[in-house]
Amino acid sequence: MPVRVVENSAPSQVSGANPGHTSPPACTLLSVGQAFSGTQNVSSLQKDEAWRVNVRIQGCDLDHGYLCGTMEALNVPMADTPVVTFWEGEIVDAKNHTFFTGKWEATSEVDIRHWTKFPSFSPLLSQVEVDGGRSLDLSSYPYIFMRWKEQYFVNVGTDCGLTIAGFYYVCFSCSDGSINGFYYDPNSSPFQKLELKSNHEGRWGYSFSSYELQ
C-alpha cells in the first residue's frame, strides 16, 4: 500500500540558539485509544512466517517525547492465546530523543541502517549523520519517528518461550496513520518488518476517544 505524501518539503534546520525546542506535530491519529492492526514478518531462512498484530495507544506525552501502549500478537505458534505486551515509545523530537539510540545494543551504525529503511527518512540522513538529528526541526514533518520497546508481558508469563529483548524502529505517517517498523534484536533475525494500519474497527471513518489524567 503506497503511502501518500502530504508535503514533500524537507525539514528545515533549526536556526538560532534554541535548537530542538519544536516537538513533532500533534497527530490525532497517534492519540490515546487509537487502534492499529497489521502484521509482523518473522520470516527466517527456513520459512516464511507473519504474525497478525494489533496495537493500541494507551498514553501519549509529547512534552516528554513519550508514547506507550499494548501490542497483541495473534497467531504466535508456541502460544495458546494471543500474546499481549506493554511497550513504551521514545518519540524522536530532537529535544527528548534523537535518532541515535545510545542503548539497547544499538550503535549509531545500527540506527542509521534501520532508519534508512524508511523512504521518508532519506531527506534527514545527512543531518542525522552529523548530530543524530539534534538540530532538525521536525515540527512540520509529516512523519513521526519513534523507538518502541516492549517492557513486560501483559497476559503470559516470562516462561512463554518468547522474547521481548529487542526494540522497534518505527515510522508513523501523519497523513494516513500507517505505521512501519523494524524489529532490532542482535539475537533475532534481522529487519523483521512490522506493518500496521489505522484500524477503523468496523466504522466508516475515524473515531476518537479520550481520557485525561488529573
Binding site: Q151, V154, S175, E201, R203, S207, F208, Q214
Partner: protein, 706 residues
Amino acid sequence: MPASSASSAHRPEDLISRLSSAAVDGETKLKALRELKNQIIGNRTKKLSYIKLGAVPSVVSILSSAAADDDASSTSVLLQSAAAVGSFACGFEAGVKAVLDAGAFPHLLSLISHPNSKVVDASARSLKMIYQSKLAPKYDFLQEKNMEFLISLLNNENENVTGLGASIISHSCETNVEQKELSDAGVLKRLLNLLGGSLCERDASLESLATVVKGNSEVVSRFLGPESGRALRAVIELTKDRYPRTRLLACMCLIAIRNASPSYLQDAGQKTKLMLILLELLDDPGQVGDEAAFALSSFIAEKEDLQQLAFEANVVDSLCNHLQKGPLQAKRIEGILLALADLCSKLESCRSRLLSLQVLNLVTDALTHDSANVRAAACICMKSVSRSVKNLSAGSFVNEVIVVPLVQLLDDNSISVQVAALGAISNIVVEFTKHKSVFIQCGVVKQLVQLSKSMESAIRLNAAWALRNLMFVSDDRCKEGIFFELTASTLTSLICDPEPSVQEQALALVRNLVDGCVDSIEYVFLEDGLILHAIGRQVQSALKAEVLVQGMYVLSNVASGNEIHKEANNNSQLRTAATWALVNLTFPSSPGASNRVAKLRNAGITSQLKTMVNDPCLDVKLRVRTALGQFMTSAISVSPPVVALNQHGMHHSRIEARKLFFFPAFESPLEVPTMRVRITSLLVLLLFHFAGVMLCFHSVPIHSIA
C-alpha cells in the same frame, strides 16, 4: 501569709471580683493583675476558664482607665494589664477573640506612642501576639498616616516594636497594590537591614519579606536591585543560621522570591541545597518540621526542573523514610504526602521510585486517617502516583486495598476529601486491562452518578470526569452497565450543566460512549435523540473552545458510523452546527476573520460549501449561503485555492484538510492558536464526512429523510 487564706485568694471568682470592683485600691488591683497574668501564662485551660468568667473585659477596662490617667503610679498597672492582655492572646485563638471583642486593640496601639519605653515594649509585645492570629484586624497600608506609623515602628529602637511592624506586614499585606505601596515606601530596605538585627527581628523580617515579594516579580526585582547580590546573599546566609526557625523562614523567603521570579536562584546547586536544608528541618519535631514539608511542596509544585533536581537529590527516598519511621502527627503526614504528590505529579522516575520503596501501603493507610486533611492529602498523593500509564496499564492500582477505601471516601463528610478522592478515582479507572467491570460491580458507578448530581460544582465536575475516564475504551458490557446507571436524562443534564468544565467532561464522556463498536452510537439516538439534541444545542451555543471541541468530536465519532448514522447526522443538527461554527469563525467583524477565511479556503472549504448550497435542510442551506457570503466579502490577498472539483481535486482537498488537521503548528498564529486551528480542522474533517454523505443523499427523496 497563712496557707488557707492564700488558697481562697487564688480562687478565680475572687480574683475577678478584685479586678472589676471599683472599691479596691490600686495596689490590690495591681496584685490581682499580676496574679492573673502568672496563672494564665502558657496554660490554655486557665485562659479559657478566665475568659468564661469574663476576666478579659475587666482587664481591658483597667488598661483603658490607666491609659487615661497621667500619673506615674498608673505605669505599673499599664504594664501589667497590657501583659495580661498579651498572655490571653498568645497562641490561643479564643483569647485573641476575647481581647479584640473587649476593645483592647486601639488602646494598645495608642500606647505604642507612650513616653515610657517599658509601656511601649509591653504593648508592642501584646500586639505582636494578636498579630500572630488570623483574627487580628487588617491594617490599611494605603492610608498615608498608617504607612508613616508603620515606618516609625520599623525604625524604632525597640526590637519588639520593629517586630510588631514586621508582623503587621506579614498579617495584612495581601494584594499586589499593597506590596507595591510598601515597596515604594522603602519598607524592603528597612526589612533588609533588620535581617542583621536580633533573632526576633530577623525572623519577623524574613516572614514579612516573603509576604511582600510573594507572587510579585516587580517587587522582587526592586528588593534584589539591579545587581541582586547583597539582599539575596543576606537571605541565603540565613538559611545556614543556627536556629531552625530562622533557617526555615529564610528558605521560605527564597522560595517566595523564586516562585515570583524564576530568573533568580538559577543555580542548580543552590536549589538542591535549599531542598536539603528543608529535608534536614523535617527532623525538627515541632512546628518547624511540619512547615518544612509544606515549604518543600510549594517550592517544587508545578516545576518539573525542580522535581528532577529533587529526584536526583533523593528527596523521594528521604520523604518516604520519614513516613516509614512513623508514627507522625497529622500535620507532618499531610505535609509529606503533599510533597510526595508534587514530586510525582510529572515525573515517572519519581513515581516508580516511590512504588519501588513500598510506600504505597502507607499512602493507602492514610486514606482512613482521622484527620480530613490527611485523608485529602493521601488522595492527592494517590492521584499523582496513578498518573503512571505504565502502572495503570499493568493494573497496579486496581486492588481492594486501594479501591475500597477510596470509594468509601466518596461519602466523606468533607467536600475537599470527596473531591480529592474523585481525582484519584478518575485516574485509577483509566484502566486498559479487562478489569473495568470491577468498578461497576463494586458500586462505584452508582456513587459517581449520584455525585454527578451534587450541588457542589467541583464534585459534579470530578464525578463526570471519573465517568468519562471509566468510559474510555471500555467494552460493550461496561458501557451498558455505566449507561444503565447514568441514564440518558442525567447525561443530558450534565451536557447542559451551568459549568462549562462539567459540560466538557460530559461531552467527552459521550465521545467515549459512541467510540468503539459501531452499535454504541445508538446510545445518542435513544429517547428521540435526547442526547444528540443536547449536544447540538451545546455546540451551537458553547462559548468555551474546550466544550466545542469535545462536542464536535462526539459528532465526528457519530459521523464515522454506518450510513444510517451518517444520515441521521445529516438529519439532525450536525451540519447546522458545523456550518454555524463556520459562520462564526468567518464572522466579518471579527479581527482574525480574513486570516481564517484564507485558511479554510486553502483547505478547499469553499468548494465543499458550494456543493451544499442546495442542501435539503433549509436551515443548513441558509447558513451555507451566509458562510459563502462571508467567504466572498472577506478581503483576502492570498492566491485562490487550487482545488479542482474532479476526483483528483477531491483527493487533494482531503489531503489539504488533513494537513490542517495534523499540523496545527504549521499554521500562522491565530488569537488562540492551537484550539482555534483544531476546531477549524475538525470542521473540515466533518464537512468531508458530509461530502461522502451528500453523494448518497442526492439520490434519496427528501420526504424519506424526515
